[in-house]
Symmetry: C2
Subunit: 583 residues, 2 copies
């Protein structure tokens, strides 16, 4: 039986379903179906709303919640992640398509599908090449700042639906300016529906659950009932709009949503379009992956499970390709729906497939009922959902902890609000990396001396220590590489330029984890220049791997001084040698 | 007298001439004038040749060697640096202007001047903002690889002048292909002149000096005579071409070079052109600055002088702006001419101003003589000059020392040869930074144990050490930041997943110089997850600055374990506690 088992294990690397699927039983299925029903109820209004946010027809939101979920069930590793259209990725889709300046709805839908395809392809390639670690280059504060600023942008972008006016813009200034310019056109009926729906949904979120528990419902049931709030808002506003014919009085409605299976669609193969969408697709892939993995890891940890980030890239990539071929647009794992899925008891990724069946039934049966659905209701759903993402406390937290992190967060928030999501997140990554490089390009170097009566050496500025005029000992508190090697050289040469009968410079390397080739050349240069001044250069406490590396060069042969295992050995040896007076 | 002196010292920050100029005397002037004469003789053919390399009229090379030298005299800090057109920057200028697809010579000259202006402006801004450290992000191996590959490209690009054929291309494949395609058109007269001049110049470089010394000349004089070789080649080939009327037989000549003062020119103010040239100007600025500073520092060190890199940005920026307004093109400090200047005894930047006078006299008096100068002679000058830059030994050296550095060098060389200078140097920077981040994103973590009978802890894989099944001690050999925090978390959680009655995890931080906010959040998460498994997390040997930082967060309050000053304290305390058996 060995060969078949080996094959199966080989396949399960890329097809996790073969692993959990073999152990799937009736009990798990029951749990998964219950969770799927609850997630479906939550997802129907959300799918429609996020499609609206992305500037796409409502049905594309439903299509994006069917086949992609099946793909994730097959390829994903998280047992709780619920995939589909999400707020931030929808906003990024709107920005990407907005860049193209299209007006034909067919072209717009094609561009959205192509964006999903490119994003899926990027994720799959990253997964196969195991490049998941690249996502680590988005620092936590940058992500937090980006999500908060995106939430503000999304909420602001939905105000036009609440007011019933036309307004455009991909940044805060543009959006607010556009709203102010069009405020005179506010439609009163729309405003009443929008404000009521928003207020109702906020109340459902904060006030309904305690009420239901007081009324005797079990907490978990009360929680689930509260999640159905948006469905109630949808149903009531549809009825009101239909009953009073409000669509004839200027209330924008969703209108005709095609009934039936998702269409088979193909992405555009135009190189020009690919070129225009590539960067956007890359940003969507990375943001989607980072968000999704962080949700999946949080939920997995609660049950002592582990997810496989590189396989998650494959799962999300397959989902996006599935979205591209079935009339959808870019998808990823959503925070709120995954938590609901988890809380409702989902045990395996099969819950996603059951949810897909639920949404499919909605697409087949419910779409005629959505004709009178006011866009203001969907906008209210979005506003209430995204405001929970907005959390400016990251500014205060990062300010307290580190100015560098604060700078990255503040810049990301300001640039996202001021120039839109794509600029914001790109700048965030560049600023994080730039500030990190800047920090390490000026390593901490401390001049140290012997703590009397011990073998310890400490900073001469912080402690009362013994020093000698003919010896300078510098402790380098950073790995040496191309960006900071010159700084060390300048530091040493400036220190040495003082009038002092200096004979020895000792560099302590206990915290130097690496010396790259640029740094090696700098050390060689330093050794030569100190040699010209008749000053010996010594090293002490060099780590094993660094020493191995240095031995492969000529540096140690040319070194004017010695390499000491411990700084105290250097001190004993050098203070024991006769000291020549300064001439 | 205090206020005026303060003003003067304030000015000397930006005008170093006020510092050395006050002490300038007849003796220094004599040395500077001698050096200037020698550099002028060397610079006349070089200026013409490099203008040819840049695809510009010969006189622009002369103009670029007049006012820019005066500007550097005023603003520069190096006492030996000789500024003017250099090979690599000329090649980059050719590439930048080639991108524009211009054919009108007036437009081409305007673009070259604009490029010098933009490059000058970038350098001045960097100087005022003290951004000289940015140049450190070009690692030594990348620079070495880039210069070598550029040398190969430049030499290849000049072969068309030696053969007397038309050939184009900004990369090696294109150049060689173009040469092969046009080889049938080779002009025999041109070939003879080109090959003879090249052979002569190589002989001058290698064989003439020993010959002259044997003939009784002093070594320094012999050296200087050898430097005049190109002038001899120029004179002889002009005479031959004129005498035999070779220009009528297909030998390409320099032709009419305008006589007179450099023209006053203004850069284009077209935003479209600025936009097209900006990236090229940035790369030229950085490469020019790095080259120039490294030459200047090497020469300054020989006389125990120091240069001021940020002021060098101002000096080179002013030189380029001067080139832009006087009919020149981008300039920087050249290696060969600076060494000649230094060896010939230049004592102050005034030598540059005297050289400018020499070139000015040439522009006023000698240009009619250059009419019959074959382009093949200039090409020979370039080939002989740049082949001294080509040094592939960097490949072997970096291979021995570090695969990461080797990758950066090899990629830079291949990309420069394959895609031209701009792609090559951009890729070099990105690859250096990328590889550095990749390296630090997988920090070295060692599991350690107590060396029996000591208080030292060493890697359990390398040493025979004492461990306990309920304690895991991990030494982290890298600062923790956003790119590597997740790696540590995964490492610890994977280690902890083994079947073992584990109660304590100790992280040793002696080499952790920084914990940024992303890493802090990861440590908090790790603490929580280990807490869920009833495992305590401890820290030991945390550095002062890191500890200060951690105290500003809630991490230490939430930590399930303790922070120990020394790892041995942790060991004593934790092994003293009663160990519960695994359930």
């Amino acid at each position: 039986m060995t060969p078949p088992r080996l094959t199966a294990r080989h396949f399960t690397r890329y097809l996790p379903i073969l692993d959990w699927g073999r152990r799937y039983d009736r009990e798990s299925a029951t749990s998964d179906i219950v969770a799927a029903v609850i997630v479906t109820i939550m997802l129907i209004p959300q799918s429609l709303a996020y499609a609206l946010l992305a500037g796409l027809p409502a049905e594309m939101g439903l299509y994006a919640s069917i086949l992609p979920l099946v793909a994730y069930t097959i390829f994903g590793t998280s047992r709780a992640l619920a995939v589909g259209p999400v707020a931030v990725v929808s906003l990024m889709t709107a920005a990407a398509i907005g860049n193209l300046g299209l007006s034909d709805p067919v072209q717009i839908a094609l561009a959205a599908g192509t964006l999903a395809f490119l994003s899926g392809a990027i994720l799959l390639v990253m997964g196969v090449l195991r490049l998941g670690f690249l996502a680590n280059f988005l620092s936590h504060p940058v992500i937090a700042g980006f999500i908060t600023a995106s939430g503000v942008l999304i909420a602001t972008s939905q105000l036009k639906h609440i007011l019933g006016v036309e307004a455009h813009g991909h940044n805060l200034v543009g959006l607010v300016g556009s709203l102010v310019a069009h405020q005179g056109e506010t439609n009163l009926y729309t405003l009443v529906i929008g404000v009521s729906a928003t207020a109702f949904l906020f109340w459902v979120r904060k006030g309904l659950k305690p009420l239901l528990i007081n009324a005797g419902l079990k907490p978990r049931l009360a929680d689930i009932a509260a999640k159905a709030g948006p469905v109630a808002a949808v149903a009531v506003t549809i009825l009101v709009t239909w009953a009073f014919g409000l669509n004839a009085r200027g209330v924008a409605i969703v209108g005709e949503v095609p009934t039936g299976l998702p269409p088979l669609t193909l992405p555009s193969l135009s190189p020009a379009l690919w070129n225009q969408l590539f960067l956007s697709a890359l940003l969507i892939s990375i943001i989607g992956f980072v968000e999704s993995v962080s949700v999946a890891q949080t939920l997995a940890a609660k049950k002592r499970q582990r997810i496989v980030p590189d396989q998650e890239l494959i799962g999300l990539g397959a989902s996006n390709v599935a979205a591209a071929v079935s009339g959808g647009y870019p998808v990823t794992g959503g925070f709120a729906r995954s938590v609901v899925n988890f809380d409702a008891g989902a045990e395996t990724p099969a819950a996603g497939a059951f949810t897909a069946v639920g949404i499919l039934l909605a697409a087949l049966l419910l779409t005629p009922l959505l004709y009178f659905l006011p866009k203001a209701t969907l906008a209210a759903t979005i506003i209430v959902a995204v405001l929970s993402l907005v959390d400016f406390s990251i500014l205060k937290k990062s300010w307290t902890y580190s100015r560098v992190d604060f700078t990255a967060v503040a810049a990301t928030i300001l640039l996202t609000l001021g120039f839109g999501v794509e600029t914001g997140v790109s700048a965030g990554v560049i600023i994080s990396i730039g500030l990190h490089l800047y920090k390490t390009s000026r390593p901490h170097v401390a001049e140290v001396g012997l703590v009397p009566g011990t073998q310890h050496f400490r900073n001469i500025l912080r402690h009362k220590v013994e020093t000698r005029p003919d010896i300078v000992t510098l402790r380098v508190d950073e790995s040496l590489y191309f960006a900071n090697a010159r700084f060390l050289e300048d530091y040493v040469l400036n220190r040495v330029a003082c009038e002092q009968p200096l004979k020895h410079v000792v560099l302590m390397f206990p915290a130097v984890n690496e010396v790259d080739m640029s740094a090696l050349e700098t050390l060689e240069e330093l050794n030569r220049r100190l040699g010209d001044m008749e000053i010996s250069l010594h090293l002490s406490e060099v780590k094993g791997p660094v020493m191995d590396r240095l031995k492969r060069s000529h540096f140690l042969d040319e070194l004017t001084g010695e390499v000491f295992l411990a700084q105290y050995d250097a001190w004993k040896k050098l203070t024991g040698t006769p000291v020549r007076a300064a001439s």
